[in-house]
Symmetry: C2
Subunit: 341 residues, 2 copies
């Protein structure tokens, strides 16, 4: 048992055939006599031969690899359940189709320091971007230099580049579902909790809410800006708002976490949920159920987004072009006890 890896030549020599016969047996190509084939398989087993993926890749100039780029400020990027769900959907689909996933988190500010993703040799890329529109455009143009097809997750703006597609969920409609639910139970005044750095999905949610409000002829919801999306900050900002002015009928959180912060603030302020004030979140990730009362929220399609990204990319690799340049997945209201029915 030497330390040198076993190559196809070793197998060929041992089996008394040529290397390409071994190759043919292993890949089921060409016609090989069954006795020869069986012999080859035995030798492969005995020698513990494993084909070199690197050689295969070089020869076929195909990588069977998809790169996933997550461009976010937080180095702890996987702690966001929305992101992890997408990554999970992606890996699961890829693994089932014999593709590997290369995962890379990168800060927006580091993006300019090229080479941080240039060395990813993949057949296609999936990216979750962040930052303002100018930055995102820059990211997309940098991605395009890789000359491989790519999918942008949760992107709202269709980029100029052609060999790519955007896949997102219908945040706008999610916002509308929340708003209709609230208005149906008599809600008239509403605050919307938004983070300072307002990314497209969250903006779409709020625009969805606002559109229904407008259609109902009600005064527009008031936007409360919070420094970030953390529980603590949203708790504090909500409490401050409640102390400074009259409480609204409902508070719409940009996501579950923000909503829970707001809910705890309301309770601390002496308000009953949902009797005095109603709260809604967005995403329906795990912990929303531990909260008391259980949060009314919208179930996100995060896992499906990741799966779909993988599916579209693999389909694109087989065809020559993407079949669609924009895919929108539906979301569904998940009524809880933090709103009145």
């Amino acid at each position: 048992m030497s330390d040198k890896p076993v190559t196809i030549k070793d197998v060929a020599r041992e089996a008394g055939v040529s290397a390409m016969t071994v190759s043919n047996v292993l890949n089921g190509r060409g016609r090989v006599a069954e006795t020869t084939a069986q012999n080859v398989r035995d030798v492969v087993e005995r020698l513990g031969y494993r084909p070199s993926v690197a050689a295969r890749r070089l020869r076929l100039s195909q990588q069977w690899t998809i790169g996933m780029l997550i461009v976010v400020e937080d180095p702890d990027f996987l702690s966001d359940p929305f992101i992890t769900a997408q990554v999970t959907g992606l890996t699961n689909y890829l693994t089932a189709h014999a593709y590997s996933l290369i995962l890379r988190g990168i800060k927006p500010s580091d993006f300019r320091t090229s080479g941080l993703f240039q060395d990813i040799e993949a057949d296609g890329m999936v990216a979750i971007l962040s930052g303002d529109e100018v930055q995102r455009k820059w990211f997309v143009s940098e991605l395009a230099t890789l000359r491989v097809p790519f999918v942008l997750l949760q992107e709202h703006q269709r980029p100029a580049h052609d060999d790519c597609t955007i896949i997102r969920q219908d945040d706008f409609d999610g916002g509308r579902q929340i708003a209709r639910h609230l208005i149906a139970n008599g809600t008239r005044t509403c605050w919307m909790l938004m983070p300072q750095t307002e990314w497209p999905a969250m903006r779409a949610r709020m625009e969805g809410v606002a559109s229904v409000w407008r259609e109902a002829g009600l005064p527009p919801p008031e936007v409360i800006r919070c420094a970030d999306e953390s529980f603590d900050v949203n708790y504090a900002e909500t409490l401050a708002a409640l102390r400074s002015r009259k409480a609204p009928d409902a508070i719409v959180g940009g996501n579950d976490q923000m909503a829970v912060g707001a809910m705890k603030a309301c309770i601390a302020h002496g308000l009953r949920v949902p009797e005095d004030i109603q709260i809604t979140g967005f995403n329906a990730f795990d912990f929303w159920r531990y909260v008391d009362p259980v949060l009314t929220t919208v179930r996100s399609a995060a896992h499906a987004l990741g799966e779909r990204a993988a599916a579209e990319l693999i389909a694109r690799l087989q065809a020559a072009t993407f079949s669609s340049h924009e895919i929108i997945l539906p979301v569904k209201l998940e009524p809880g006890a933090s709103t009145r029915s």
Copy 2:
């Protein structure tokens, strides 16, 4: 702008030098005249040349890639914050050191269907295993066939294989910290919530608790078996237990999620936390703070585990052997309001 990728030969031709001069310039090897070098760099830039990683890998038989194998039953494996934190620590460290990460989730039952990880061509592997001891031994022996160094995360048993190391946190001590905290405030009777499929880390926690109980000369804590680790199941099992017999002074959850299930069950049963009964969790991931009362728990070293795994693996790749075969990271009690001080 043709579609064919630019190779080192194209650059060489265009720059009027040989391929190896280009290689030398790009890798800073050998002495190259500065004028030649600058010219080469210009051509590289102009042609948008990116070296083929596949060719480089084949030539150098080095992959600059670490594979991460997560062997768990749940296809939604990244939804476990303990796992995501480890993955994050791993990727961050690897990226900073110019290594790529290949991520793969795999069910224990699929493990036998070899080839599911055999095609991962990496310089080293990191694995999170599950299942009983027999299964784990099998996994380790399978991993060893890859002939690359590997790290086992959260493994408690040092495997026979030599070119590997285990890295885990001190779950036993975490259990002891919890137990000392409880006994110090007068706790005498205690239930421990354990999942049916009892993995080593959780068992270590409980043994830590039990050891302190034993040293204090108290009757051993009672183990409550729950079908799984979900909130719902633990809620139901705890409620059933509370109805069948006298409530203990405290309930120690195997992790935060189980603890929250137990806490809600206690409250539903009419008990006050922590006045009538105390609850403790384990891990200190995000949501434990949203719970009311805030859970007493133990802060896990998950992120550090991932980082350390990467560091050890890269060090091993440079040296010839692992410097240590067992690394244990400390954990810290995080007192909350679900226990009395």
